[in-house]
Structure formats: C-alpha cells, structure tokens
C-alpha cells in the first residue's frame, strides 16, 4: 500500500515536471521564430491567435505552436521500405527519453524541490545526456538512407567529442562545490552574485555552454542537419509525429543545458541581489529582492535560452574539421589546465569561493 502511494505521488511529481516542460518546449519554438524574426527585421509568426481568450488576443501568433503540434499529429507517418521498422519507430523515443529523464535530479527551488535528491546527481546527468546519441545513431542507420547516415556519423562524432570537454567542465564544478548533489552545488554558491561559480569557473562556463550548443546540434554546430549538404540530417526520412519528437527533444535538450548552466554556474535559484540589504537597509522590498525562489532560476534559464537563439541568428555554420579542432585541440586542453588552476586555488583557499 505504502509502495503504491509512493509510486502514485512520484508519478504526479513527474507529470508536474514534464507537462510544463513540454509547454516550454512548444513556446520555445515560438520564441525562437519571433526572436530570430525580429533580429532579421521580419515579424515572425503572426496569424494564429487565441481570439477567444481576452488576455492573449493581442499577442500575434501566440497560438502558432499549438497549431503546429496539431498539424504534426494528424500527418501521416511514412516508414521507408527496407528500413528497420522497429528501430525506426523507437529511435525518436530514445532521443526524447534521456532529455526528460535528466530532469529527475534538477533542483527547482530551495528546500527539496527536486524529484530525486540523489548524491550522484551530476554523474547521473552526465550518464543521461550521453544516452541521447543512441537515438540519433539508430535513426540514421534504421532509415536506410545515405543522407541520414552521413548526418548520423557527423552528429555522433561531434557529440562524443564535446562530451569530453563537457565532462571536464563538470569536474571543475564538482571540485569547487565538493559535492555531486545539485542542491548542494547551488547551496555552495550562496552569497552575492560574485560568489556564484561563473567567476572562478569562467572558462569552464564558456566551454560548457558552447559544448552544450554542439551537444544539442544547434547552430553554429548544426552540420548534422546542414540543409545545403545533406538535406535535413538524421531525420530526413521521418514525418509527422515521429519527426516532431526529434524536434521536441532538441528543444528539451536546449532547456536542459540552459538549466544546468544556470544551476552550476549562475547559482540556480539564488537571488542576484543577495547582500543588498546591507546597502539599502532591511525592509520589505530588500527582503523580497533577496528571497531565493524559482523565479530567479527561470530568469537565468531564459537568459541562456536567449543566448541559444541569438547565437543561431548570428553565426554561420562551422566546417567539420573546425568543429573537431575546437573540441579536441582547444576545449579539452583549456579545461585540463583550468582544473589544475582550480586545484591550486582550492588548496590556497582563495576567498570568497574556496575559503
């Protein structure tokens, strides 16, 4: 009975995480089209409105993600002849599942707002994100198409290469915080915004975020879907909802990378105004400002997501050998050097981070 109750409560918690996440995914696509639209001096989607709901009537194109989702749901799923049917169908799920599973250990706010507060949280995240390659590999191989297969090879090589730099960046974080638990990592950054790890771990933050771009196959590392060379990448043969799952997984991974960057380098749910009560005196306003809450985390996540979109609108695509060079010859040496620097800093107990 107790086990059953526990299972039901866990299930409800999972739904409470996954449903808002999928809504965010839907509206991230809207945000992407709007933001990139404005950056390119167009207005982006503006036709589909919620005209029945008074508050949302004024936002042009706000219903676009819903319309897109409905369209994709009703489209036919075409399975190519000579493809591996089972693997073809299961591949999108193998991309989506790790992107959602990693959310189990992410702390949303102070005081245990986390599904599974495990000690090896950071390792779990690494393990889960390394699983995402399988879906891409299987999708490319099972579709029995040359374009899809070429893209799979590119994307898999890229993901494996950047995972190493990403892992080393995480090693830096765990050295600084002295813990693998994500809640503890945030708690270790308490202080003002100068106490957050973005300052002592600045090179690692850059490397982590750029590797995140490469891991999610986003521009400028989107050679896995280079339209001019290999049509659309590993999902050329996919249509309808199977394609939509790949699409959603990409955006879910973007949100995941942004969240992890916020939690590990920008102090998660901590307020950036901590310590301001010493300047302005303690009153209701400063108390509100320094309150740690989920809102701060949401703002930090949005900041990183905006960077994702901004970078996509700004940079041209890398050439393949340049991508490999950046990963192996630039990022990995920098992370290795910075880990040594960090070790010295921790031994020397440099304040305010390692005192």
């Amino acid at each position: 009975m107790e086990t059953l109750l526990y299972l039901i409560i866990t299930l409800i918690k999972i739904v409470l995480i996954v449903v808002p996440l999928l809504l965010c995914v839907a509206y991230l696509t809207y945000a992407e089209r709007k933001i990139i639209g404005y950056m390119q001096v167009r207005i982006g989607p503006n036709r589909v409105n919620f005209s029945a709901i008074p508050g949302l009537r004024k936002i042009p194109g706000f219903g676009q993600p819903i319309a897109d989702a409905l369209k994709l749901m009703f489209k036919e799923i075409i399975i190519p002849t000579n493809s591996d049917r089972f693997l073809f169908v299961i591949a999108p799920m193998l991309v989506m599942a790790p992107a959602l599973a990693a959310w189990a250990v992410i702390p949303f706010s102070e005081g245990g707002w986390v599904l599974a507060d495990i000690n090896a949280g950071l390792l779990y995240i690494l393990a889960m994100t390394s699983m995402g390659v399988y879906g891409i590999l299987i999708a490319g191989w099972a579709s029995n198409s040359k374009y899809a297969f070429l893209s799979t090879m590119r994307s898999a090589a890229q993901i494996i290469s950047y995972e190493i730099a990403m892992g080393f960046a995480l090693v830096g974080v765990l050295m600084a915080a002295g813990s693998l638990n994500l809640s503890d990592i945030v708690a270790a950054q308490k202080g003002s915004f100068l106490h957050w790890y973005w300052l002592p771990l600045l090179p690692l933050l850059f490397i982590y975020f750029i590797s995140g771009l490469a891991e999610t196959n986003r521009a400028p590392f989107d050679l896995a879907e280079g339209e001019s060379e290999i049509v659309a990448g590993f999902h050329v043969e996919y249509s309808g909802m199977l394609f939509a799952v790949f699409f959603m997984a990409e955006y879910a991974n973007m949100i995941l990378i942004s969240t992890l960057s916020a939690v590990m380098f920008l102090g998660g749910w901590l307020s950036p105004f901590e310590g301001i009560e010493l300047l302005l005196g303690e009153n209701w306003f400063t108390a509100l400002l320094i309150r740690a809450s989920f809102l701060w985390l949401a703002i930090k996540i949005s900041l990183f997501l905006f960077l994702f979109l901004w970078i996509r609108a700004t940079f041209p695509r890398y050439r393949y050998d340049q991508v490999m060079r950046l990963g192996w010859k630039v990022f990995i040496p920098i992370t290795l050097v910075w880990i040594v620097v960090l070790g010295v800093a921790i031994l020397a107990k440099i304040p305010p981070w390692f005192a």
Partner: protein, 197 residues
C-alpha cells in the same frame, strides 16, 4: 518490491545477453549488448552501488558502445561468411566456455562461504562515490596511478602505431586560416586607366 524489480531487470538482462549471441544482424547484437549493460546497471543500483552503476552507463553505454556501433554501422558485414567454420571452431569455443563457467562457479561458491561483509554496511553512511574516492586516493593510490599511466601509454602507443601521415595528402590548418589578414590575401594594384587609341 525490490525483489520484483530485481527479477524484472534480471530477466531483461538474461534475454538481452542471450540475444547478443543469437541475433543475426551485428548492429542489433550491439544494441542488445547496450540493453544488457543498462539492466546490469539497474541491478547494481538496487545494491546501492550508485557510482558503479552510473560509471557503467557512462563508460560502456555512453562511450564504448557508441564507438562500437559507429564502426559496426560503417562496415558492410557479410553475415554468411561470419557463420562459416562453426563446426571447426566448436571444440575450442566449448572448451573456453566450460573454463569460464567453472571459474564463475568457483567464484560464486567461494562468495557463499565468506562472512557477510561488514565494511560495506558500515560505510553506507558516507555516499558511495565519496567512499570510493577516499579508498582510491589513500589506500590504493599507487595501483590507481599506475593503472592510469599504463592506460595513457597504451593510448599513445595505439595512436603512434596507427597514425601514418600521408605524404601526399593536403591538410587544412584552421589556425592559419582563422588568423589570416586582409594583407595576406589581396593586393591592391594601382593602375592608370588606359586611354582609347
């Protein structure tokens, strides 16, 4: 509850492991091996060995098997030629299999005789990962460092043995390409405009 979970994962593990050697397509076999790794990691999690479980997924599933699949998918393996010589190799294979089985039986038999390990339960207060780190960097620091050095040497040796720089191949040097300046590429030549005769 733990028993049900254990038997579920054990069944999946046995099924996947047997499929690895019975399935025809090598890519499918590799994928079943991934499933086998995954279920054994789950069983380790049930034993509260979370570091080992996650390390198994991280190293074998996340890295080793991806490279395996990578190579397997690129090779066009002729399945028929692989199945030749089954009868010829059977005696050796049977002998090796029997020896491995004997070893497993000996290890499990000896394990039964051992008293229940108290150290493992005593350490349970400390997180698994931390406990492992403590032991690795104090008691076993020399074997650990030596193993790391051996791996590094093996890695360098493998690269040195397989890398044969092509003398005729053309390489791009991105660092030179990136650092190129305007003066390196274009020359502005001032010329008087020609007059019409």
């Amino acid at each position: 509850m733990i028993k049900i979970t254990f038997y579920l994962f054990a069944l999946i593990l046995i099924f996947a492991a047997s499929r690895v050697i019975t399935v025809k397509n090598p890519v499918h076999a590799a994928l079943f091996l991934v499933l086998a790794f995954f279920s054994s990691a789950a069983i380790w999690l049930l034993l509260q060995a979370e570091f080992l479980a996650i390390a198994l997924i991280l190293v074998y599933v996340g890295a080793v098997m991806v490279l395996f699949l990578f190579v397997l998918m690129m090779l066009d393996i002729n399945v028929n030629s692989l199945r030749e010589g089954f009868v010829r190799h059977f005696p050796i294979a049977a002998f090796v299999g029997a020896v491995i089985l004997l070893e497993i039986i000996l290890v499990i038999g000896a394990w039964h005789k051992l008293p229940t390990p108290e150290a493992a339960t005593a350490l349970a207060a400390v997180p698994n990962t931390q406990a492992l780190g403590m032991v690795l960097y104090t008691e076993y620091v020399y074997p650990f460092e030596i193993a790391a050095a051996i791996l590094l040497v093996a890695m360098i040796a493998a690269i040195a043995l397989t890398m044969r720089p092509h003398t005729r191949a053309k390489y791009q040097k991105p660092e030179e390409q990136v650092s190129v300046r305007r003066e390196d590429r274009i020359k502005i030549v001032k010329m008087p405009s020609e007059t019409k005769d």
